[in-house]
């Protein structure tokens, strides 16, 4: 490559910087991380307690099948433009030694009457949680 070509490349490089600066085009250097700031459980019938936790009552059916005794938690994360969204945004934290229920993703299958306290926890490092006490009665 001739020296003049190298000089030309340099001029084009500088011109590009000036062009972008003048016309205000945004150069995206990287994908910014937008962290979750709030999680809200959206199941119907949820009740807020004085200590900030929430309670959900679930009608346990004695002798019922898996479908009848399974509760699926639903939630919404904020802000809307957070990097993680939808079902990928959070996970359930619960006592894995519980004998009251089994948990698969957001599906909680009760094995008997009792209580299971779960946290819906963000997965993006923001450590945002919503605590739900589910009473199967």
């Amino acid at each position: 490559m001739k020296k003049s070509v190298i000089v030309l490349i340099g001029i084009i490089y500088i011109a590009a910087i000036v062009f972008v600066g003048f016309f205000g085009m945004k150069v995206t250097a990287y994908d910014e991380m937008i962290y979750i700031t709030n999680i809200e459980c959206t199941n119907e019938g949820i009740r807020e307690n004085a200590d900030g936790t929430k309670t959900l009552r679930f009608n346990y059916v004695d002798g019922g099948d898996v479908l009848e005794n399974t509760l699926t938690l639903t939630y919404k994360v904020y802000p809307d433009n957070s990097t993680l969204k939808g079902a990928d945004a959070a996970t359930l934290v619960y006592d894995e030694n519980t004998t009251v229920a089994t948990v698969d993703g957001l599906h909680i299958t009760f094995l008997k009457k009792g209580v299971l306290t779960v946290q819906i926890k963000s997965k993006d490092g923001s450590n945002i949680t919503e605590t739900i006490r589910i009473i199967a009665y």
Partner: protein, 712 residues
């Protein structure tokens, strides 16, 4: 006469009292509060309410706080324990009063049904944090960042105050209403790890180690318990079909912290004591001497948890519409003065301190950035310690800050994570993200006594600026860590005022760690540091390596030619070694960066390497030249001119030059045209490209930089 004598006596007493108070310097008592845990807030129905251990915190006008044990001058209201429910206990002292809610709780065998008896939420959170985390490939985020490196640490409990292990007890009352019990009568078993097995403690063996309150479910360990492992088992006294819960722990020297307010116990700075006094008094927090703090919960810090003196408040003389409710600069939130022979530890227990809602620092100057930090092991005044600091430790803690890598300048007002001026700082198994800078390590007391900082098994992500800012911080060892996503260089190691003190430099050793932060050089950090032009300049040099026409390598003589730009035209600026101001006369720049993988050193940048020192004094044709070092081999580029104006100036060049350190008269040999380019030189060039990193030096200014090498 009697009346006159009485009046005189009274006046004398008043004058003497006021002189005494003035001499004390405290002023009058301003408020009183009940010291946390000095009385129980739960009492069983029909049992005597015990106030014998009551301690009042008396706050004086000058902000100082005094602890007063129960005495006859205190007027204490009564609690009727024959009535179930909440009652108010009022205490009057020195003309002031304070009150607290007391729960008179029923015997659960009488009235209630236990519906749920679950592990306390904190313990479930702890257990969950020990689990490995899987990445979800369908998202733009690497979920494994959340995983702690070491996930086998036993749960820690402090010995300074009672630890509560209260299960989540869901009860149903006679009306069928559910509620959570705040106390219950429990059957308790305490075992201690001895000779490879747990042995149940009874009698004196038990009371020497721990005081158990089986109504409030608390365990107050003694100093004798420190360093020992215990297993606790609890179950309700009056319930059938409820499985007992067990819990393993290790006792350490520290205060058990349950709420965000407890974090204020970290702060013992004499210069900020009066700033904290009001908030501490509101939360019944005394000034106990502690050597550590043990987290038992995730803690979220909001504006309400910050002393007013650290904020621009409505009504402050210097508050305006731009700065109201923002943080003042140079105000680190929790400042710890650690005496030279003391150690202070923060035991995270895998919990999180979330400071994402802390307001940004208000900055007046356009190019300034915040000087405030979340935690400062920083001595006894606002800025610099007057005495040598001791040892600081942080273990198994997750911290989230209020700044992140972003493309606008807002985050330059974010907090730094940790400022350390300790003679020894150990960060172990922690996970920290989203700060202006995560570690700001300094040695501002005595650079002649080198401080040693070790960052081990830790992960750091997403900073607006660099992750490590080392300011005369002598030895910094980064071992088995992950550092990813800084807005500028990952590490800046500064030699402070080298013309005055040659010892005030910073070394870095990186061992078996993953460090990466690809940048274009146009990010906000580079913009406000006016470093975009330098990044552009550095990137332009890359042409010398990869452009076929300007290198030897198109001839196929050199294998694995490398570039220091990736496919997205980003560079990885791993570490920069600078002086804080231009070097004058005989001053020299010190600083060393060493990268080790699997016991093998893969890169060393040493500003005191004799060859580097000699090369940096070269000024061929009065030009400033960049020198590249990899695997101990040096090269430079043959600059033929400059194009562009001002900061946009970039050099034009004509090929690489090999630096022959054996030819002190004429060490620069143009690779392309050099007639004597022999096998030895060729082998050295090949050795150069076999390196993992590229060290960049500049003879115009004294600086060194470590960049990552990519296969071209």
């Amino acid at each position: 006469m009697k009346k006159l004598l009485y009046t005189f006596s009274l006046m004398f007493v008043m004058v003497f009292a006021s002189i005494t108070l003035s001499a004390c310097g405290k002023g009058n008592p301003k408020s009183i509060a009940i010291k946390e845990n000095s009385i129980s807030t739960n009492v069983l129905v029909n049992e005597e309410f015990d106030t014998s251990n009551l301690v009042l915190l008396v706050k004086y006008e000058n902000g100082s706080i005094e602890e007063i044990a129960k005495n006859d001058e205190m007027e204490i209201s009564s609690i009727s324990t024959n009535v179930i429910g909440t009652q108010t206990l009022t205490i009057k002292y020195l003309g002031l009063s304070t009150s607290v809610k007391i729960n008179v709780v029923a015997r659960e065998e009488d009235v209630y049904t236990i519906l749920g008896f679950e592990t306390p939420l904190f313990y479930t959170t702890y257990k969950n944090n020990l689990k490995p985390v899987e990445d979800n490939p369908t998202t733009d985020f690497d979920e494994t960042e959340e995983e702690f490196v070491v996930r086998t640490n036993t749960y820690k409990i402090g010995d300074d105050n009672a630890f509560q292990f209260l299960p989540i007890i869901t009860m149903i009352n006679q009306n069928g209403e559910d509620f959570i019990a705040t106390a219950y009568t429990s059957k308790v078993k305490v075992e201690m790890w001895q000779n490879s097995e747990y042995v149940e403690l009874t009698g004196e063996d038990l009371t020497n180690k721990v005081a158990v309150d089986n109504l409030n479910s608390t365990f107050d360990f003694t100093e004798q318990a420190i360093g020992n492992k215990f297993r606790i088992q609890v179950e309700p006294m009056f319930a059938e079909d409820v499985s007992p819960l067990t819990f393993e722990c290790e006792v350490v020297d520290g205060w058990n912290a349950y709420t965000t307010a407890d974090l204020s116990r970290i702060d013992n700075n004499t210069a900020t004591a009066s700033v904290w006094a009001e908030l501490k008094a509101e939360n019944n927090i005394g000034n106990e001497q502690i050597n550590g703090i043990v987290l038992h919960n995730n803690m979220q810090i909001t504006k309400d948890d910050i002393p007013k003196g650290y904020l621009f408040n409505q009504g402050d003389a210097d508050t305006n519409s731009n700065n109201i409710n923002t943080l003042r600069d140079w105000k680190s939130l929790y400042t710890r003065d650690i005496k030279e022979y003391e150690t202070f530890s923060i035991y995270g227990n895998y919990f999180t301190i979330n400071a994402s809602q802390v307001p940004l620092v208000y900055l007046e100057e356009e190019n300034a950035s915040s000087h405030s930090a979340l935690i400062s092991f920083g001595g006894d005044n606002d800025y610099a310690p007057s005495t040598q600091q001791g040892v600081a430790n942080i273990d198994s803690l997750k911290i989230i800050g209020n700044a992140r890598r972003q493309e606008n300048l807002d985050a330059r007002g974010g907090m730094m994570g940790i400022i350390t001026k300790a003679k020894e700082f150990n960060l172990e198994n922690s996970n920290i993200r989203a700060f202006l800078t995560i570690i700001d390590a300094l040695n501002s007391v005595n650079p002649d006594i080198p401080n040693v900082n070790t960052y081990k098994n830790s992960k750091m992500f997403d900073t607006f600026s660099c992750m490590f800012y080392l300011w005369s911080a002598r030895d910094n060892n980064i071992i088995n860590c992950v550092l990813k996503g800084s807005g500028g260089p990952i590490i800046i190691a500064t030699h402070v005022n080298p013309e005055k003190n040659k010892d005030s430099y910073s070394n870095v050793k990186i061992v078996d760690s993953e460090i990466s932060a690809p940048v274009t050089g146009t990010e906000a950090w580079f913009a406000y540091n006016k470093a975009t032009a330098i990044a552009t300049l550095i990137k332009s040099f890359n042409k010398a390596f990869v452009d076929d026409s300007t290198t030897l390598f198109n001839k196929g003589e050199i294998e694995n030619v490398k570039s220091f730009m990736n496919n997205d035209e980003k560079i990885e600026f791993l570490c920069g070694v600078f002086a804080n101001n231009p070097l004058t006369n005989s001053a020299e720049l010190f600083g060393k960066v060493e990268i080790v993988e699997n016991d093998k050193t893969i890169d060393i940048l040493n500003m005191q390497n004799p060859i580097i020192k000699a090369i940096l004094t070269l000024k061929p044709e009065a030009k400033a030249l960049p020198f590249f070092e990899s695997n101990g081999v040096l090269m430079t580029v043959n600059i033929t001119g400059m194009t562009g104006e001002g900061e946009s100036q970039i050099p034009t060049f004509d090929g690489l030059m090999y630096v022959d350190p054996t030819d002190t008269e004429n060490p620069l040999k143009p690779l392309k045209y050099y007639d004597g380019f022999n096998d030895e030189a060729k082998q050295n060039v090949q050795k150069f490209f076999n390196g993992e990193c590229l060290n960049l030096f500049y003879n115009g200014n004294a600086l060194g930089a470590v960049l990552k090498f990519y296969n071209a």
